[in-house]
């Protein structure tokens, strides 16, 4: 069976607090235990208690990066979940495969039979209340139902249940097994399977981890050697801190809950100045508050990692919704001109490795580095190959794994610390013996730092323009030299490091029908659209850069030259990446394809637009899914 291709999307929906999310997590873990890959896209209600929650789990025999266009199977824990998904169910009649609706018949009765929808009523609530005498077992009964109906490997799912409840004792495990078996039994006694969906037999499980997006940021930062994390709670970034706090303490570091985001970044910069790798994570409003300190980090040349888990803006915007509209503020926020770098993750797995890379760039170039993710990535979980971290005797740390953007390994970088032994000729000392923290004549613009405690390199830092030995001074000559020094670091970055983040590029043809450049979560969705277009005979070039600032123009220009049109799908209004590319490259004819409704694209929307662009010979402009479908759509 190992070669049989398998790809199934199961969505569980219902009231938040009814175990909907847990059920999705169980399915994800079951997939991992049965030797398959899984991506689990979750959404929690915006309310603290109650409200609609859902978990969409795509299980596959191949790595997949999106949860697809829609579900194959919907397990609805209440009537609301059916209603919320009615658009998808109604669309089943246009699709080749049927959709399956497993629903809680205690709460819901279908009013009409939809075409190409298969109904499996199960009185989930009644079974939980009357048979199990424990309403909380409803989600486990549902898992039993799904397991029996779709041959989800019983052992894998039971192991997942046991792993979760082991801590609570044998009795609790037994109760959940009983609930699970009850679900299975109900199906055997009451339902006849008429749908085509089934899990293949389990395979030998691979060496994998299951992580949520924010957890991957936390783990990657730990691998990079972060020692200080300053936090101020904000959806959807808070859980980076939740995930990192204990690990950080066990690694000798500390998480400080600040009084606001201005403080978070101030504290993190203080820790960086004191010699430690430091970070903070926030979302749009927090980045706005941090702007002044971002600029300060730029002029003082302090290494710092700022994670922006984007949410829907502007203002308080849509805190629980997906959007990628902070590229402008990350690239341009903060007053004055200063160098910085932006990395953006397309998947949970990316989050892990790019967190390491963000620290590397920050420490090497002594600049603020943004790691951009978003709210959907934050809570999505993925099964991916276990990253390997080698801590060598000599202190070197090497991170390996199936690094998604195509690099072999990442060696953890530590900042250049001044060592008088290496500076016998006094290159970094003034004639009077003062430390030249900001010497302007190094070829790469990078100069050694010194950390408090070292008597050889005592110096002060200031946000004022300053001389090589950090005294405030604003003469035109000093100003120009210092500016050039700081920006030379970005030129070095483009020369020495940018290529690492430009490897996720695929060229089908030198004159492709369409080329796609995308970033963040949208890239992982565009990838699937590209695959489908290719299956339909189109030639498609793809480029998913992980480095969004600075921009190496020639790489983008060359990529674009090999296609008839370039589409840049992203979820913000301006088409922010396309906007930046038009400004920094000679590419003026880019097609912005944007959605700003608070939800991610689905692959079909990008696929359909690409076909429209090809048919109508569109070469530039600004489009939304409404231009394709004639109406504002949710996830269509």
């Amino acid at each position: 069976m190992a070669n049989e291709r398998f790809d199934l999307v199961i969505k569980v929906g219902g009231e938040g607090g009814e175990g909907v999310i847990t059920a999705g997590d169980f399915l994800t873990e079951t997939a991992a235990r049965a030797g398959y890959w899984a991506v689990n896209y979750k959404s929690y209600p915006a309310e603290i208690k109650g409200g609609y929650a859902q978990s969409t789990v795509r299980v596959s025999s191949e790595r997949v990066y999106s949860t697809g266009d829609s579900f194959d199977i919907l397990c609805a824990f209440n009537g609301e979940a059916v209603e919320k998904n009615m658009v998808f169910l109604k669309r089943a009649k246009e699709e080749s495969k049927p959709k399956v609706l497993v629903y809680d018949s205690t709460d819901y009765q279908p009013v009409e039979e939809l075409e190409n929808v298969i109904y499996y009523p199960v009185p989930l609530s009644e079974l939980a209340k009357d048979v199990m005498k424990a309403y909380i077992t409803k989600n486990i009964i549902a898992l039993g139902v799904l397991s029996e109906l779709f041959e989800i490997p019983e052992k894998s799912i039971k192991d997942a249940i046991k792993a979760k409840f082991m801590r609570k004792g044998e009795r609790i495990v037994e109760m959940n097994y009983k609930a699970f078996d009850l679900g299975r039994q109900y199906v055997r006694e009451n339902l006849k399977k008429v749908d085509p969906y089934k899990f293949p037999a389990p395979q030998e499980p691979q060496d994998v981890v299951i992580m949520e997006g924010n957890q991957a940021v936390a783990k990657g930062s730990i691998a990079a050697g972060v020692q200080f994390y300053a936090a101020y709670p904000i959806t959807p970034a808070t859980t980076v801190g939740n995930y990192i706090v204990n690990d950080l303490i066990k690694r000798g570091g500390w998480l400080y809950q600040a009084e606001d985001e201005i403080s978070s970044l101030g504290m993190a910069l203080g820790a960086s100045f004191a010699g430690k790798k430091a970070m903070t994570a926030t979302s749009g409003p927090g980045i706005s508050l941090m702007s002044e300190f971002i600029s300060y980090a730029g002029i003082t040349e302090l290494p710092i990692v700022i994670v922006d888990v984007q949410r829907g803006g502007p203002g308080t915007g849509m805190p629980t919704k997906h959007e990628q509209a902070d590229l402008f503020i990350c690239a341009f926020g903060g007053h004055g001109d200063f160098p910085r770098a932006i990395l953006a993750a397309t998947t949970v797995e990316d989050n892990f490795y790019l967190a390491v890379e963000a620290f590397n760039l920050a420490e090497k170039y002594q600049i603020p580095v943004f790691l951009m993710t978003d709210g959907a990535l934050a809570i999505r979980s993925e099964v991916f190959p276990t990253p390997k971290v080698e801590q060598r005797e000599d202190g070197k740390i090497i991170v390996r794994g199936q690094i998604p953007y195509g690099v072999e390994e990442i060696e953890v970088v530590n900042r250049w610390i001044y060592n008088p032994e290496e500076d016998k000729e006094g290159r970094f000392k003034s004639p009077t013996g003062r430390f030249l923290r900001y010497k302007t004549d190094t070829p790469d613009g990078i100069t050694p730092m010194a950390i408090p405690g070292d008597p050889n390199a005592i110096h002060a830092i200031t946000g004022l323009e300053r001389t090589e030995n950090t005294d405030p001074r604003f003469t035109p000559e000093i100003r120009v030299k210092q500016m050039n020094k700081r920006f030379r670091k970005l030129q070095t970055l483009l020369r020495e490091d940018a290529a690492r983040y430009y490897k996720d590029m695929r060229i089908d043809s030198d004159n492709a029908d369409v080329a796609i450049i995308s970033w963040g979560l949208t890239a992982s969705i565009a990838r699937e659209a590209a695959k489908r277009l290719r299956e339909q005979g189109y030639t498609v070039n793809e480029f998913y850069p992980r480095l969004l600032w600075p921009i190496k123009a020639e790489v983008f220009e060359e990529f674009a030259s090999k296609a008839k049109r370039v589409i840049v799908p992203e979820t913000n209004y301006h088409g922010q990446l396309a906007f930046i590319l038009r400004a920094t490259t000679n590419l003026k004819d880019l097609i912005s394809y944007v959605a700003y409704r608070g939800e991610a694209f689905i692959p079909k929307e990008i696929e359909d637009f690409a076909k429209m662009a090809i048919e109508k010979d569109i070469k530039k402009g600004w489009f939304t899914p409404s231009d394709v479908y004639g109406t504002v759509v949710g996830a269509i």
Partner: protein, 296 residues
């Protein structure tokens, strides 16, 4: 190590203050205090915001940081938490600390971070050329309040006591000896110490002059017998008393002396407890492997 003198704590940068600025005195007293304590200049970190007063750490030798207006405390906390072995001193002004940066004061104090805050109180915004500050007197003229201050003022001593500072004192830039003694005590204090220094700005605040203070100072410990300095209520009473005086400057006197001093566990003491409780994990791989499906 050779014995260091006050001069050894001064950097090569020459102060840019106006002649007669009170901040010169604060700089001298700080250098003296550090010399008397024989602190290692490489392990003293002075952190400041923006203002005339906030320039001070640039004139001291050390790993000092001149940061953003109002944000010195945040940066200082990062330094101290990352490196508890360093002596961290915040140098700030009345505008820097109690206007733009006032949101940070409760939090640094309640956590009892082992940091010293030295505020140069000239009751005016000096660097931006004469605007009223949160400690300005009633009726004081500022460039944006040409009609005379109607905004009311705050009492920094009362605030810092309320927020939980464990050492609170006031001194005067014209009294080098008293200042040096207080700064020394504050640096040596384990926990959050706050020193308010009355520091005349002869350029913009003509009222709070050396001449005025010559006859309008009183030592609360020596002259008013405030000796129960571990008694919070008494310290508060003293602070209120000063505030009353402040309202009628011609008939009353401003305080110098120690209001309050108690020993309490510092933030770092508690951090250490937590670190010991949680233990250490040497293997990064182990921390990643917890994300694998659990072995059954």
């Amino acid at each position: 190590m050779a014995v260091l003198t006050a001069k050894d704590y001064r950097s090569e940068v020459e102060p840019t203050w106006c002649a007669g600025c009170g901040d010169f005195g604060v700089l001298n007293a700080t250098a003296r205090a550090l010399a008397e304590l024989q602190k290692d200049p490489a392990k003293v970190v002075g952190v400041s915001g923006i203002g005339c007063s906030s320039r001070l750490p640039l004139f001291l030798k050390g790993y000092n940081a001149h940061t953003l207006h109002g944000r010195a405390i945040t940066f200082a906390i990062g330094v101290k938490v990352a490196r508890p072995d360093l002596d961290v001193i915040v140098f700030t002004g009345d505008g820097d600390m109690f206007s733009i940066g006032s949101g940070h004061n409760p939090h640094v104090a309640r956590r009892n971070l082992d940091i010293t805050i030295i505020m140069m109180d000239n009751k005016v915004y000096g660097l931006t050329k004469n605007q009223i500050s949160p400690t300005s007197r009633d009726g004081q003229y500022g460039s944006l309040t040409p009609y005379g201050n109607i905004d009311g003022h705050i009492n920094p001593i009362m605030y810092m006591l309320t927020f939980g500072a464990t050492y609170v004192a006031q001194t005067y830039a014209g009294n080098l000896k008293h200042m040096t003694k207080i700064i020394k005590e504050a640096i040596s204090h384990k926990g959050l110490s706050f020193v308010n220094i009355i520091s005349p700005c002869p350029t913009f605040n003509k009222f709070d002059s050396y001449k005025y203070y010559k006859n309008h100072l009183i030592d609360i410990n020596e002259d008013l017998g405030h000796n129960e300095i571990d008694n919070f209520n008494k310290a508060m009473e003293m602070a209120i008393h000063w505030d009353d005086n402040y309202r009628d400057p011609n008939n009353t006197k401003a305080h110098i002396g120690v209001y309050y001093k108690v020993e309490k566990p510092t933030y770092h003491d508690r951090v250490k407890e937590v670190q010991e409780r949680l233990g250490r994990e040497d293997s990064i791989q182990n921390l990643i492997n917890v994300c694998k499906p659990k072995a059954i």
